[in-house]
Amino acid sequence: MSRRYLLWFAQEYLDFRLAEMQSILSMLKIEIKYVEKSYNKPYWIVELPSESCIKKIASRSVLIKSCIELWSSANTEERLHENLKSAMKNDSGKWIVESVTGESNDNHICHSSLLTVCSDPSKSFKIEVETFCKHFSMKEKVEKIELFSYLPLEGPVKLNNPDMKFSYIEFYGVDPNNVPKQPEQLFFGRWIVDGQRDLIQALSLKKRNFIGNTSMDAQLSILMANQAQVTMGDIVLDPFVGSGSLLVAAAHFGGYVWGSDIDFMMLHARTRPTRVGQKVRQKEESIKANMKQYGIESHYLDVLVSDFSLPLWRNDLKFDAIITDPPYGVREPTEKIGIEKENYTLAEDYLPNHVPSKVEYGLSHIYSDLLNFAATHLHIGRRLVCWYPLVRSEFEASQLPSHPCLRLLASSEQVLSRLVSRRLLTFEKISDAVPDVPLDPNAAHHNFRRAKKAEEIAINNIRRAQKVSNLK
């Protein structure tokens, strides 16, 4: 008999939810049935084979806030209580699902066995009230709780560390500017487990020993490790490792991590400190020191200074995951590059006619390179997860980087401004057959130009915004 759960999500990164869930499910080999799965609402209703499945999922998901064994749901308060009362009498061992509005299955009534196992008088409990998109005082919440006194919960109420926690949730829609008087949907159930929201704080950049100006925040890094299905003992590479932020999450989930980057100063933490108010770098700042800080030093293999456009590893070395945030461009003319006077000669080397071929290769072909590399160096069935910048209006799924040995599984969009976004691409290696395909120079070029355009627009926007705020 499968069990029905309410998954409550953080209301952000909506475009990443399904991708994260699918990655976690296939990694853990868990079958799910989606009973209700909307894009905009912060909850899904799902069926899973057992409670241990939901616990495993929650042990990985950073987008899930909490998981609740659903007892009843309804679209009015009266109806919710009626449904719960019917549940107490529902001995069929099955769920009753009804549609009141005729549009969706918005009435859920569980079977009585879920309630009876909770009636043990020796088990303490508490009921928590959560309201989405509307605020209630403590007193109002207590009043709401008292309405549940008919439930067959025989144990004592205990506010700290009860044996069982129940959740009553009122959902007032997702538009804070247009909150209805009555809740749109209501839920009641037994709390099972929380997702990994606390990990965002635990791995926060704010408290991290070494960060750079390209460090990825903890939440997105965790998402990437999930997309890449990193588990205990995996070998993970970030070939554009920078300050190593992606490796922190990968190592947290048990990956053994290698990184490489062309920037010697970054790997040696000799760049300007990133933190406001910090004048000099601490002596012990490094990717390795970060790993030590989080108690995962044993998962740090090494970082190397090297140019990704040139071969570095043994041909036959295979990784379990490649997660990375590639560079997407260099400021071109001197002023835009913002290099100080003494570096002018360098910048001139850089002007289009004089671009040294390797540099050109390194930047404009980075995605072709990355995909070829993944096709060669990933184990079959394992994943490449990387960011890809875009001008939103120009997005076409067919234009995303592709490779015959790699299957695109997800491309979740993070909107950065009205015009610019980046997508988190997840590829799975499906074949060893074509280890290296010749570059399609046009495709790569196209990507590069797009990226450049994205960056120009973004920068102009930022400049404009800065001007405006300076005037104020």
Partner: protein, 148 residues
């Protein structure tokens, strides 16, 4: 740099170099740092290791004591053996020194445990340009850390 890394590295980045493997190690400073032992990981990594290269590398820096010259699968159940491999593969680190390409003799420095596989001065300078790329990146894609 740990020996697990050395075991995977080549100098194929050099023009004209075909295999660039294995690199010779010259160490002026070696560190040994204890880290958690995970026998499952060691068992999983052994098939990826070129054992002869591993043994010779360990020997060349004076850490081959007790490490068998060949590896047999029956050793996978032997905890002492796995611990020894763990130690030499993951705990012994070349902190300062250099790697030498077996074909061209070209040297790559290792400083503070980090090998530098970049080719020329010019390309080292290119790395400086990246700083500006990174600043740009920071403005556009990751404006957050600066407020930290």
């Amino acid at each position: 740099m740990k020996l697990i890394t050395h075991n995977m590295l080549t100098s194929k980045c050099l023009k004209g170099v075909v295999t660039g493997y294995p690199l010779a190690i010259s160490a002026t400073n070696i560190k040994v740092t204890e880290v958690d032992f995970n026998p499952d990981f060691i068992v999983r990594i052994i098939p990826k290791i070129d054992w002869e290269v591993f043994w010779k590398a360990a020997d060349s820096i004076g850490h081959s004591d007790g490490l068998p010259q060949t590896v047999e699968s029956k050793l996978h159940d032997n905890n002492d053996f796995l611990k020894k491999v763990h130690r030499v593969l993951l705990e012994v680190e070349i902190d300062e020194g250099h790697l030498t390409c077996p074909e061209s003799g070209r040297q790559f420095p290792i400083t503070k445990g980090i090998p530098n596989m970049l080719l020329t001065e010019a390309e080292n300078k290119f790395a400086m340009l990246l700083k500006s790329a990174n600043d740009l990146y920071h403005e556009v894609f990751a404006p957050m850390p600066r407020q930290i």
